[in-house]
């Protein structure tokens, strides 16, 4: 079962991306492409700081600020220059490639003999269990903060911006500011995911962010299926389901690898598994009607 534990760990590490995409979906109705860039940015900043012997708790705020800056930039380009949100994200993501290449100085930076988040405290002697507990605490704190934020007046206005921008503007909310802060928040979360993954896998690679937006989007859509099926409206269960979505996504991959399908069909089988999971609720609906 050790292997499934590591899949769970990876899922927990991706929870930041999933939460980030969830927020950007709420305010934009489209996923934020900056994710691919800010994820690697987070990992690159972490790797550079840790290899320069900075403690991991110093790296975390820097990573968060870096991610937030990337998101805010996308928001500014979208709202002030009136560029399509998708293009704004693509532009920032493309430009970030040069940023982390310059930051790291090379394309792959392994973490050798450095302190990481996962050996700050020793809760369990088994490194995997230790990582699990630390991640669980970390993700719980992050989710609690986000959940609380989304329930405040500010959070409510931000979520409503995605539903009906015109109405929210007529209520006297500055929707531009909502979008910029929302995107900054989403990308800060994504960068934190990069921060976690980098320390969990032990290296940062420049191409690690390619397609990450798909993982986040997959997690959110799996979660949405369950949210619609169970008719959930409140914030807390939704956030938990999003986290669950991220974990399911990694589990599906783990199962496919465990069964040992021919590598040629790896992706197809993964897709079929996800299809099964999201279609199961729908099938049982039809039976009921």
């Amino acid at each position: 079962m050790d292997f499934y534990l590591t899949a769970l760990l990876q899922g927990l590490c991706f929870s930041g991306v999933a939460l980030g995409i969830y927020i950007s979906m709420k305010i934009f109705n489209i996923p934020d492409i900056t994710t691919d860039g800010s994820y690697t940015l987070g990992a690159a900043v972490t790797a550079v700081m840790l290899t320069h012997h900075q403690p991991t708790y110093v790296a975390l705020p820097v990573v968060t600020i870096a991610g937030a800056a990337a998101g805010a930039l996308t928001g500014l380009i979208h709202t002030k220059l009136k560029i399509n949100a998708l293009l704004a994200g693509i532009l920032v993501m493309t430009a970030l490639y040069s940023v982390y290449l310059a930051l790291m100085g090379r394309s792959n930076l392994p973490l050798i003999n450095v302190s990481s988040l996962f050996n700050v405290v020793n809760i369990s002697t088994d490194p995997n269990y230790n990582t699990f507990w630390i991640l669980l605490i970390f993700v719980t704190i992050i989710t609690t903060c986000i959940g609380y934020l989304l329930k405040t007046d500010f959070g409510l206005a931000m979520r409503a911006t995605g539903n009906s921008e015109t109405m929210i503007r007529s209520l006297g909310v500055n929707t531009d500011r909502m979008k910029i802060t929302g995107l900054a928040l989403a990308n800060a979360l994504t960068a934190i995911s990069g921060y976690l993954i980098c320390q969990q896998q032990g290296f940062t690679d420049i191409s690690m962010g390619i397609g990450i937006v798909i993982i986040g989007l997959g997690s959110v859509i799996i979660a949405e299926t369950f949210i619609n099926w169970l008719r959930i409206a409140s914030v807390w269960p939704s956030l938990l389901l999003v986290l669950g979505g991220a974990i399911i996504f990694q589990f599906v991959l783990a199962i496919t690898l465990d069964i040992g399908v021919d590598p040629i069909f790896l992706k197809a089988v993964t897709a079929v598994f996800v299809l099964l999971i999201v279609s199961l609720p729908r099938l049982s609906f039809r039976n009921k009607a």
Partner: protein, 323 residues
Amino acid sequence: MKTLKYLLLFFTLVIICSCKSNTKNNIPVIGFVDAFEDASIAPARTGFIDALKKNGFSDEQKNIKIEYRNAQGSIPTLTQIVNYFVSEKVDLMATCTTLSSITTLQKTKTIPVFVMVAPTAKLMNMEDANGKGPANMFGTTEDLNYIDTSFSNIPKFLKPKSAKLVVGMIYNQSEPQSVDAKKRIESLADKLNITLIALPLNSSADAQLVTQSLLSRNIDAFFANPDNSVFSSFETILKNCDQKNVPIFTSEAGLVQRGAVAAFGADIYQWGYQAGEKAAQYLKNHSTSGLQPEMVKVRKRVYNVAAAKKYNITVPSNFEPVK
């Protein structure tokens, strides 16, 4: 009813998760990790398996079990593959190319890892403060010396169009060995009195554009530095260079097969074979004593007959035609 449905879903998941027989017998298991699909890299695995077979270990004889996983270019998948092998406690791991080697060596410090088609620990930045590579790293590696020979061959083959020979190359910013090779070639070009124009190519989609941009600068030759972007877009590069009558030189025999003029460099099949021999040695006495990462031994000078004829290049007799 609703709880029933939950339960149903839950149990289906549990059943899916648990349908794995835990029959563990005493056959040694080899976990083979590949990071992506590539025709030029694939011979390494064949070489590795052939070397094991030659030493009496094969799937057919049922005295080893080779489990092969390919991450299809996705790093999260790659990490999971490595996690899988590590938690299955395979007896040894074989990793092909740099990225899979780094991922594996970061995840396990105990299972012996036989790397192939990967640079030395130093070039991978995997050395600790004392300049030592990971203790469980074995197999066959390569430093950048071969590039000197392959690159310095170019002036022997070609006469410059203008006063100074101009060589164009592309490199992949996302691959450490490609960037290192480019730096090496830059300093080498200075010594050999060659003007080097290097442009980054990070995805094979841009190959056409970048190659055209190089060709528009009137280069005498194209140096195809073997990295993933060159491997995957070589046909595009070749087509464009052919139209402008620019010969391609490289350091990898596989690319000569695909149309480059000449190469001096490692044979990917032999590279895997050499790593496989070391893995067999480990399987025989189950000890890593006496084993250490070693340099790739078989390097070949090869040329492509058709391409050499097209560009009127006389190839020295120590080059053999590629099959």
